[in-house]
Symmetry: C2
Subunit: 135 residues, 2 copies
Amino acid sequence: MNGQFQIATHVLTLLCKQPGELLSSDYVAGSMNVNPVLVRKEMRKLRACGLIESKEGKTGGYSLALPPQKITLADVYKAVKLPPALGQAKNKPNPDCPVGKQIGAHLDNLADDVEAAIVKKLSTITIFDFVNQFD
Amino acid sequence: MNGQFQIATHVLTLLCKQPGELLSSDYVAGSMNVNPVLVRKEMRKLRACGLIESKEGKTGGYSLALPPQKITLADVYKAVKLPPALGQAKNKPNPDCPVGKQIGAHLDNLADDVEAAIVKKLSTITIFDFVNQFD
DNA sequence: TTGTACTGTAATATTTTTTATTACAGATAA
DNA sequence: TTATCTGTAATAAAAAATATTACAGTACAA
């Protein structure tokens, strides 16, 4: 149950709908019933990737750093750094087993391919597109 | 940290490498340093999807139910039923907010599209292909 | 210049999910 | 009838995500 991508997308949607305005983490958190600190954490990731800007102090808040046509959902996905779609084994396979010895590398390659497929799909959708679906 | 897909793929790899033999959950678990009960749980899912067969009692164990050319990694992915690649929000967005009211449905559609992209990618790879990568 | 309303961040607690462990009933072959 | 396996439940332990609390720093405004 990991809602980081959903939080980030929700915020970007709000920012896109209210261009020019600075939205606070409290306001945004209220719109999605989530803790404001969690919003600020996701915002840090988005800002580190150059997708949003933030302003401190009174009248501070968040705004888009780029036109929404330039922000794809792949950018969001990469920014929030979700755990891999195929999961990740915590165990270390037995190195004495010919299969156990090699399977880690093959599974890693596969995971990379799947992540690439996800990014490819998400890169075709911008925040602008996503928001345009709304009534 | 979810290793269910890795466990399932590991077992299928072993079964593919040793055709005709029945492999026990203890043997398999030893090859990947994981708890035997966890192996049996994943095997239940694979059997429910018709990918493997199991035999109880002494000399019991697991075997492939289909030729490895007929089992794709998409079949495995669907069988193990991982949580969605984009995560899943546990919170319920504020229904009084025009964005909060609608975003759930749009995020669900997006999640479906991404899952479809993953399945499409994985459906191009059979267990036979995967195992053929090994030395 | 002082109060107010934000962000940024750390520390901690709670909740949820995953994995491990234990236990035992039932099946099957030797 | 004994040993070895699957099937499954119940419980414990470990890991991850989220919530909460707290507070320093920043910027605006009265």
